[in-house]
């Protein structure tokens, strides 16, 4: 993976972004997100497989959490008090792997092995193979219960780490999420954040044409959660939501996103759930992301 969009071809000091003032942080996170999107497109091109639409919609939220807010680094990967980032929408592993590689958990060049035979970079993430992966997700509706367990453990141990769980919106049709939502509110887990990648598309159709989720913020609020509804492709809005007052409750961030964000011909089109772009389309995509 060689193509870079870093200014002057000089990689950003991604470890330092967390300490920047909020405005500057949001600007740098945009650059990181663009780089992650380019990596995703290249990985899917190389593998000739993957879930490009959801990868591109969740990128900004993942990048903002991982580089702008959470204590996540290779140096603290085994630290019991580290923050936990759980990608419940495990089919978007390419986005997670890109984030982890840029953060130095493994060499960026390893991304070329995505989904290749015997690669550690399986189509869905495996914590035993990749440092930085916290949960072996893939079947939907698993991440939030695990996140609840992590948040309970954080309080029980007194170490007070944050747990961020990224779910899809279609994924919320799985009932296990709402079991976990009840537990989280009941136990007042204000150290738990769920980020719903609300791109309004699931594998087969629009969510609202399949099993409607609206009114989604009200659903979470009625379960006893603090709710923020924001533009989920805006790093500044994401930063603000991730650090807002939670009033002693778990926080649900409804991140309104575009599936396929950043590549015009992929954006908001159901067929790009896991379609693989042609070589020509890859070139076009990378041009748009330049």
């Amino acid at each position: 993976m060689t193509i870079s969009v870093w200014p002057d071809n000089k990689p950003l000091d991604v470890a330092a972004i967390r300490d920047l003032p909020e405005g500057e942080r949001a600007e740098q996170l945009k650059l990181v997100a663009k780089q992650v999107r380019r990596l995703i497109v290249q990985m899917i091109d190389t593998a000739r497989a993957g879930h490009i639409g959801g990868d591109l919609s969740v990128t900004d939220a993942l990048v903002t959490a991982a580089f702008g807010v959470l204590n996540i680094s290779p140096e603290t990967a085994d630290d019991p008090g580290r923050d936990r980032l759980i990608l419940s929408k495990g089919h978007c592993a390419a986005a997670l792997y890109s984030v982890l590689a840029l953060r130095g958990f493994f060499p960026v060049d390893d991304l070329e092995t995505f989904m290749k035979p015997l690669s550690k970079l399986n189509g869905h993430p495996n914590r035993l193979k990749v440092k930085g992966v916290e949960a072996n997700t893939g079947p939907l509706g698993h991440g939030l219960p695990i996140g609840v367990g992590s948040a309970v453990a954080s309080k029980l141990s007194g170490k007070n780490w944050q747990t961020f769980v990224f779910t899809g919106d279609g994924e919320l049709q799985e009932g296990s999420n709402w079991e976990a939502a009840m537990t989280a509110a009941h136990r007042k887990l204000d150290n738990l954040v769920v980020i719903v990648d609300r791109n309004r598309l699931q594998q087969g159709a629009r969510t609202e044409d399949t099993a409607s989720l609206d009114p989604l913020p009200e659903k979470w609020a009625s379960f006893g959660w603090e709710v923020a509804e924001i533009d989920g492709n805006d790093t500044a809005a994401l930063l603000k939501a991730f650090t807002q007052n939670r009033n002693g409750k778990p926080l649900a961030v409804i991140a309104n996103t575009l599936k396929g964000k950043g590549v015009s011909f992929i954006e908001d089109r159901v067929e790009w759930h896991h379609k693989v772009p042609s070589k020509e389309q890859v070139e076009l995509a990378l041009k748009e992301l330049a």
Binding site: A135, N136, T137, I146, G149, A151, L156, S176, M182, T183
Partner: protein, 318 residues
């Protein structure tokens, strides 16, 4: 070794030993927590809750969530004992057991309370008779069925020490102690405990059926048929060596379990025999959804009794 041993009249609910042991383990090790699904009473966790109120995480009636929460706790270094009625733990949360526990390689002890047909009259919805088949099919998950209170406690010690993903039945139906007094430990992971060295027939049993096999051994001895009893408390991985030895040294095996025949202990024994030393065998288990009746009545209904085992053995030998 004795030719056979007798079974005492005193019987025990293994959940009592389980809860006493869990408190002792938790006192010694702050990593131990209990996770349950509104099953504080049925899992006998009242004393644990009183002693460690913060370390009992009751998620409500939500088994998928329960197992996921346990995985999150294990991720943070805790050792969760997940306590729920067997049918709901194994059936409702199967995918979480597979992905969040076994595939994730977490040291979580999934404690299937009141397994088999312990819920008797409540009927087949509440019988956990498929669990051994379902759980055996999952890679990297050890499957344990302690046969008495001593084995239950020793298996819990092993579970904590090993840090393994474990599914363990915790019996409700009262059973006598079957652990011979001369054993150094009541439970050795991956080893079948053999009682007697009879060379006519091997009685292979697990859980509630072990004491019944020992009774059958005595019935058969009175008729001059010499049996050995194999107590299989580790269903997976199966102690193939002891099974093969029994097949070689006897005229056949009777395998008895409180569960379906498709995929449980009998299936495991059958595969071991087929690949290594084909032998005559008879498999006893729960062969249909049960009619209404108590646990004892239903065991009798399906021939899962000392008499049923002895009858099967006689046919094999004769």
């Amino acid at each position: 070794m004795n030719a056979h041993s007798s079974v005492s009249n005193e019987t025990f609910d293994c959940r009592v030993a389980f809860s006493e042991k869990l408190i002792a383990l938790a006192e010694a090790d702050p990593r131990i927590v209990a996770v349950c699904n509104d099953s504080v009473g049925s899992s006998n966790l009242n004393a644990f809750r009183d002693r460690f109120p913060d370390r009992l995480i009751n998620v409500g009636i939500a088994e998928q969530n329960m197992v996921g929460v346990a995985a999150g706790l294990a991720n943070a270094g805790f050792i969760p004992f997940v306590c729920a009625a067997g049918p709901f733990l194994s059936g409702r949360a199967t995918e979480q057991v597979k992905a969040d526990v076994a595939y994730s390689n977490y040291g979580i002890v999934l404690c299937a309370m009141s397994p088999g047909m312990a819920y008797g009259e409540l009927g087949p919805t509440h019988h956990s008779i498929e669990d051994l088949s379902w759980m055996r099919a999952i890679d990297n998950l050890d499957v344990l069925v302690p046969a008495d209170p001593e084995q239950t406690k020793a298996a819990m010690d092993w579970a904590v020490a090993s840090g393994r993903p474990i599914y363990m039945r915790v019996g409700r139906h009262k059973v006598p102690s079957v652990t011979p007094a001369d054993r150094e430990t009541a439970f050795t992971f991956g080893k079948i405990d053999v009682t007697g060295d009879g060379n006519d027939v091997a009685l292979v049993a697990t859980g509630t059926l072990v004491s019944r096999a020992i009774e059958a051994q005595a019935i058969l001895a009175a008729e001059g048929i010499l049996a050995r009893v194999l107590n299989v408390s580790t269903i997976k991985p199966l102690d193939a060596e002891t099974i093969i030895k029994a097949a070689k040294e006897t005229k056949g095996l009777v395998v008895a379990e409180e569960g379906v025949l498709e995929g449980g202990l009998g299936a495991a024994v059958s595969m071991t025999l087929s690949e290594n030393h084909p032998a005559k065998a008879k498999f006893l288990g729960v062969t249909s959804f049960a009619p209404t009746g108590s646990n004892d009545f239903l065991l009798e209904h399906f021939g899962l009794t000392a008499k049923g085992i002895a009858d099967a053995a006689r046919k094999l030998v004769g």
